[in-house]
Amino acid sequence: MRLAGAAVFLAAALLTGVLVGPVDLGALNVVHATFAHVFGLHSPLSGADDAILWQLRLPRVVLGAFVGGTLAAAGAAYQGVFRNPLADPYLLGAAAGAGLGATLVAAYAPGSGLAGDLLPISAFAGAAVAVLAAYVLGRSAGAAAGPAALILAGVTIAAFFTALQIFVQQQHVDTVQAVYSWLLGRLSTAGWREVGIIAPYAIASWLILLGHRRLLDVLAVGDDEAAALGVNVARVRLLVVVAATIATAAAVAVSGLIAFVGIIVPHTIRLLFGGSYRMLMPLSIIVGAGFLVFADVIARTIMSPAELPIGVVTAFFGAPFFAVVLRTGRRYA
């Protein structure tokens, strides 16, 4: 029932995303042309309009869904393994690491720039290195320190990587604009290539996180209690963190830092439908995907033909909505 509702929400988002844009293509034409492409038939649209639909709009909608679903699922997973409601996908330094990776490319490989193949690789590597460093540092504090040590290590690594990033940026003032636009998150240059980059990571991570739903519920009672119930706490935590982080790194690599999705989507679902990961995880993926697609529709149409950074939209519309849910919700778990 809830899953069906979420699926309808996602379907509505995808449909709106494909139909609405700065260029009016006509609803019938869009549907017709999309089917034509999928089944290899002749598209009713002109060459330019067809390119707009198939090369720009569709990949952007699909990418938005992948990124949104990934960030929301990763956020929910982090909140579970760290038992911290403020945890988001960037908690362990993924954002700072990816930011440093992107800035390094912008500063030292201007030939490839923010449009080239190097940026996603570098951002991905930066995020992975940062989280790995945080994990090693957190573990060195000893298992007794629990999830708090890991979070503190993440904060430390994030601060250090952010400092490096700002230093590099100050040394290369000409990169400020490019880096800044990347930091605000963007789907504006999305293409099928980006979809191809994120899809395998996103799907693999979704499957792993969905497979750990029940264990995440067990973890909520505390490390010792979970261990007493026969759960290998450290292993579950590592596996979930790795899955969530790799998917987050892939999302960041293709779309920059889109804030807030990983926090408000899982919490909204908790407030509306309760906190059990059995439902929370699949709902987070579906609703997160729909939410980001809707946010992107706003980002590319509200100031049309200008673009609004998507990070601004997710926070501007997400924050008040979340405030309302927080005030009216009673089932906070």
Partner: protein, 278 residues
């Protein structure tokens, strides 16, 4: 005795005659933290008075480039060059006030909004550095060259898209560079996205660029972001755009297209050359 007095007087006179005009010719130790001002100073013959320029001043090559930053200026580092004139583009971090406290003359020349302001800034630099005539002559040469280039192009209704970054940041007609396109009578596709908030530099959606089908694309993101005629042609869907089909995509030097100094003439001539084709 008298002979000696005459000698002293003659020496004094010589010093006054020789050094006097030079002293009156204004600052002898100029620090420029504005790449545009650096270009203008050298173009009007004040280059010998320039002792240091900021890390972004990459033209002309003989300019004494240092690690000074106009973006995050350090007053002590600037003062270490013992300047008697500092030219800045913006008052970053209260640098103007701090330098004036040290009795160092500061000239602020912000980004020009149009050619008239750009000319006025060159003349101002000329007046202050003692190269008034050279500055006036340079401005006249620039005006002639620009007028000639504009006149050489056919008056056909065409649209232009000026790309500042590969994620489609652009410049409207309200900006300096947009004003240049207006000289040619080009219609700027960015104007539809003009809003007070964007400051004349909105980010366009790719869909809109494709549907507005610009007849001329100017890439001012070649150095920053490695864009080229080839990379634009290979973007998904862009092969249909008129500018790509008619080979009217121009790659320009980012800094030439973002400054408002003497090299704006080169930029205008580049655009004119493309518009004359076909």
């Amino acid at each position: 005795m008298l002979y000696r007095l005459i000698l002293v007087l003659a020496t004094v006179a010589a010093v006054v005659l020789l050094a006097g005009p030079a002293a009156a010719a204004g600052p002898r130790r100029i620090v420029s933290l504005s790449p545009t001002a650096t270009e203008s100073l050298f173009a009007i013959g004040a280059g010998k008075q320039v002792v240091a320029v900021d890390d972004q001043s990459d033209y002309p090559k003989r300019a004494p480039k240092t690690t000074l930053s106009g973006f995050t200026p350090n007053v002590e580092a600037i003062a270490a060059y013992r300047p008697d004139l500092v030219v800045v583009q913006y008052d970053s971090g209260g640098v103007v006030e701090s330098l004036r406290k040290l009795d160092i003359r500061v000239l602020v020349q912000p980004s020009a909004k149009n050619l008239a302001v750009a000319y006025a800034q060159i003349k101002q630099l000329g007046a202050i550095t003692g190269h008034k005539k050279a500055a006036a002559a340079l401005v006249i040469r620039m005006k002639h060259a620009i007028a000639k280039a504009v006149k050489s192009t056919p008056r056909k209704p065409r649209t232009v898209y000026h790309e500042l970054s590969p994620d489609y940041y652009t410049a409207t007609s309200k900006t300096f560079i947009g004003g240049i396109y207006k000289l040619f009578g080009l219609r700027n596709v960015a104007d539809a996205a003009d809003s007070s908030g964007s400051g004349g530099y909105p980010q366009l959606s790719a869909e809109y660029i494709l549907s507005s089908n610009p007849g001329l694309i100017v890439l001012a993101d070649t150095r920053c972001c490695g864009q080229s005629v080839a990379s634009v042609s290979s973007r998904a869907g862009w092969s249909n755009i008129a500018a790509v089909r008619t080979h009217s995509v121009v790659a320009v030097d980012d800094s030439v297209a973002s400054r408002w100094g003497p090299r704006v003439v080169q930029f205008v001539q580049t655009i004119a050359k493309v518009l004359r084709r076909r």
